[in-house]
């Protein structure tokens, strides 16, 4: 009973937040990030860090954060509207695939295309996630 009341409150809150608005804002944020990234594009002095601590930190962070994200996604799935969750999740797939392709294209075209930074890729990921969400919202999950 308490669980049901808690779920209802959460769902009302989620309905109030409106994923359409949330992803609209995220799309604008991604464009702003891309513009800001372009403005501070001057090359910084890059000093390569020692390999082992970097690898250990990255692998540790990856395992820990992906486990936390899995738990978080499980909570979202139980509490969010199934339709909304599926659009958000499918949109995330579009975001990841798009980011991988952008990275690949820029790697192949290095020297021809202007260089991109990690921040640019994050902006691309957020933007394509939002676009993926809106494509599914428009065409449906069965498209």
């Amino acid at each position: 009973m308490e669980q049901q009341r808690s779920n209802g409150l959460w769902q009302r809150l989620c309905r109030w937040v409106r994923p359409d608005w949330l992803f609209g804002v995220l799309l604008v944020v991604s464009v702003i990030l891309l513009v800001l990234g372009g403005l501070k594009a001057e090359a910084s002095q890059f000093v390569p860090p020692p390999l082992f601590p970097k690898l250990a930190l990255l692998v540790g962070a990856m395992v820990l954060l992906s486990a936390m994200a899995t738990v978080g996604a499980g909570i979202d799935r139980r509490r969010l509207d199934d339709y909304m969750f599926q659009m958000v999740a499918n949109g995330a797939v579009i975001g990841i695939v798009t980011t991988l392709f952008v990275n690949m294209i820029w790697n192949i075209g290095s020297g021809i295309l202007p260089p991109i930074t990690g921040d640019d890729l994050i902006a691309v990921m957020i933007g394509s996630w939002s676009l993926g969400y809106f494509f599914y919202r428009w065409r449906g999950l069965n498209s």
Binding site: Q11, D81, D82, Y83, R139, N142
Partner: protein, 63 residues
């Protein structure tokens, strides 16, 4: 997957918002199911069937 949700809802004179409230989902979910943009999860399909006191197969049709 086709479904008879719109017809069943109309028979009871419920709006999409009424049905959404009864199913505890968003109105957009009901609209997406009715327009074939989204096939509900199995738990939601059972919930819909329970609400209309029918079997899932009587509401959702293959193809």
């Amino acid at each position: 997957m086709k479904n008879r949700l719109k017809v069943l809802r109309a028979e009871r004179d419920w709006s999409q918002a009424d049905l959404a409230e009864r199913l505890k989902v968003s109105r957009q979910s009901v609209n997406a199911i009715e327009t074939g943009k989204y096939d509900p999860s199995l738990p939601l399909a059972f919930k819909i069937a329970g609400l209309f006191e029918m079997t899932i197969e009587e509401i959702f049709l293959p193809g």
